[in-house]
């Protein structure tokens, strides 16, 4: 019988422990990002821009050696703008495609459905577009973050501008789901607080999301003769809306007009000169508004590659990939729970400045960008934004108590 030599025993032991620990660092598998966007229907263009933003970030990172020596890879699923579809897609991404992290979401309704499911999936989710305050409010949880601004932040800024216009009687036209209703609710609350003498009209219009014909709603609002109209219609709907409103003379009325997501370049490039001059347009990020190195590099790389300036959806998606890079590197792991903890309070340099995920509700304190539509930018084929105002994220955000989030 042969005795075990101490040296051999040691080698065996090292080999065994080495094997057991190997997947933690010697993994050649790419790190998988699961992305969920609207890729079909009237808002499909938003998904396309987000995919481009993700791809740009991933290619930059991979050329630079990846994350902890591993490449990044994205798998994209279509939410169709429906919560049930997005939940199924998230399960597929996590359990079938082995995604390490999730990102995306364009619609508030989708976000309200998916976010409560995140604690079961045990993977972090960075929302890059959907704006309902609830997901970093009463529905908040340990795994859910948002890098783009939300309805509460944007409407606080909108109310400041609306107050300065001096218009007294306000109404709204918005899509008939969470986003449209919450935009009006938060706008009204903020406006009324600052200016108690304004009137929030009861004649509001909420056409169905994806409705083709906005004529009756436009006529109804014109007949009610408000001083100001808040319009939260977005995506392909907004393109149709503006064209029909032009035909009906909507923009020639004596009214203040504010589009809460009007400066999405997806919409501006589809409309070109049809977007009237002199209306207020908002966006989560305006490519021309930030004078920092990250933004300069991002905008020029984006235009070089895709021929158009980046939209806010492209920027949010691009920044989210970099947020995950930073989180994975500081956590030293792709474990869902560890990443979710690392993201809390983390800050990063994004195209729209240095932003941080607030620990109390996981909302990035980013300020909305508002401006008045100006002359055409002939090179990019879209309207410029005049009088651009970039609001301070800290000042327009709700306090943690106001959000109702308990983490």
């Amino acid at each position: 019988m042969q005795l075990l030599k101490p040296a051999r025993l040691l080698i065996t032991l090292v080999a065994v422990t080495g094997l057991a620990g190997a997947p933690a660092w010697a993994d050649d598998d790419p790190i998988r990002i699961g992305a969920i966007y609207i890729l079909s229907g009237s808002a499909a263009n938003y998904g396309k821009f987000a995919q481009q933003g993700i791809q740009l970030a991933i290619d930059e990172i991979n050329q630079d050696g990846g994350v902890m020596g591993r490449d990044l890879e994205v798998i994209t699923e279509d939410s169709q703008g429906k919560a049930s579809v997005a939940i199924q897609a998230a399960r597929k991404l996590v359990y079938q495609d082995q995604a390490d992290v999730l990102m995306g979401l364009d619609s508030s309704g989708v976000a309200q459905g998916l976010v409560p499911v995140m604690p079961e999936l045990k993977k972090p989710l960075i929302i890059t577009h959907a704006a309902t305050p609830d997901v970093t409010g009463k529905l908040c949880n340990a795994y859910t973050y948002r890098i783009s601004n939300n309805v509460a932040q944007n409407m606080k800024a909108a109310a400041i501008i609306a107050g300065e216009t001096g218009a007294k009687r306000w109404t709204t036209i918005g899509p008939d789901y969470a986003f449209g209703h919450q935009s009006w609710e938060f706008f009204g609350k903020a406006l009324k607080e600052a200016n108690p003498d304004v009137e929030l009209m009861s004649d509001t219009a909420f056409p169905r999301f994806g409705a083709e014909d906005f004529t009756p709603f436009i006529n109804g609002v014109m007949a009610a003769k408000p001083d100001g109209v808040l319009i939260s219609v977005w995506g392909g709907d907004l393109v149709n809306f503006v064209r029909q409103a032009n035909n009906l003379g909507f923009f020639e009325q004596d009214m203040e007009i504010m589009f809460t997501v009007g400066a999405a370049t997806e919409v501006l490039s589809a409309l070109g000169e049809q977007m009237p001059e002199g209306v207020w347009l908002s966006t989560r990020y305006w490519y021309d508004g930030f004078d920092n190195d990250v933004n300069k590099r991002f905008v020029s790389a984006y235009i070089d590659r895709y021929g158009v300036p980046p939209s806010y959806n492209a920027e949010g998606a691009y920044a989210a990939v970099y947020a995950y890079k930073k989180a994975i590197e500081s956590a030293g792991s792709t474990d869902g729970d560890k990443l979710a903890q690392t993201l809390s309070g983390m800050s990063l340099d994004a195209p729209n400045g240095t932003i941080a995920f607030r620990a109390g509700d996981h909302q990035a304190l980013v300020g909305p960008n508002w401006g008045k539509s100006g002359p055409m930018n002939d090179k990019h084929g879209i309207r410029t934004l005049a009088d651009l105002r970039i609001f301070d994220g800290e000042k327009v955000s709700r306090t943690i108590e106001e959000t109702g989030c308990k983490l």
Binding site: R91, Q96, E120, A178
Partner: protein, 314 residues
Amino acid sequence: MKQMILLGALLVALIGLVALPWFAPYFYIFIVTEILIMGLFAASFNLVFGYTGMLSFGHAAFFGVGCYATAMTLLHLKWPFLYCLLLSVGAGALLALVIGFFSVRLNEVYFAMLTLAFGMMVFSVAHHWRSVTNGSDGIAGFTLGDFGLGLDLTLGNPAVYYHVVLVFVVLAAAVLYLIGRSSFGMILQAIRQNPERVAFCGLNVRSYRLAAFTLGGAFAGLAGGLMAPFLRVASPEMLHWSTSAEPVLMSILGGTGYFLGPFVGSAMFILLETWITSITQAWMLFLGIVLALMVMFFRRGLLGTFLDWWLERK
């Protein structure tokens, strides 16, 4: 002999279903959960269509109402899941009784159109009544509590929930099967084949049709109630006429002539959807091609065609 083989095959399938979480990839627990629930939905529709011969285009109303009933009780009242399901069954049956009362007096295309109209009415209510149904966003964000009966089940665990669904679907399917085999079920089939003759036998055809319609609604309500915790949202799309079309397609794919046809159809529908959508977004195009081929060449459906051929073989 052949009966024994069929019974054996069924038993093997059942054992396979029970053991699924231990051998299949995790993702397939979700797929099979959906197949079972949609199979029950399709089977409840087939009681109305395959047995009694009434082509309803509003069956999603009962499915959707069941889903809303469970979702809303979980959200507002936090009842144990079992009681939510019972409420869903009741809600589906009650709505079917009301819609059926007006619809079963008509035949064929008029019946189909009337059920479609009622279905769209229910959809409109859910879509517009924002203060109650939360409009187009639907009911989401509810949590799963206890099961009821003092059973300690973690319903949030997909594997546990899969087994809960399996038990309910198998029990419901057994009841549906027995209904189909009972003298009541025989009368329903006789009504499909020749309603005049049944009427001449002194039976009230309209009452039987209404009873079948209400029963179909009750089982669709149960399927809807099981769907709510699975999807985690009850949305108006579940009440839409396009959802009503799904059990019709599933029944035709699987075969309306055999009890298990709708379940086989549900499996085909969902597996094809899963596999094809991972290759292309245009899955409806492929479904259309498959459906056209089935209707042209295998009118009895996949299961029906196979069993017809196999049972007649000497």
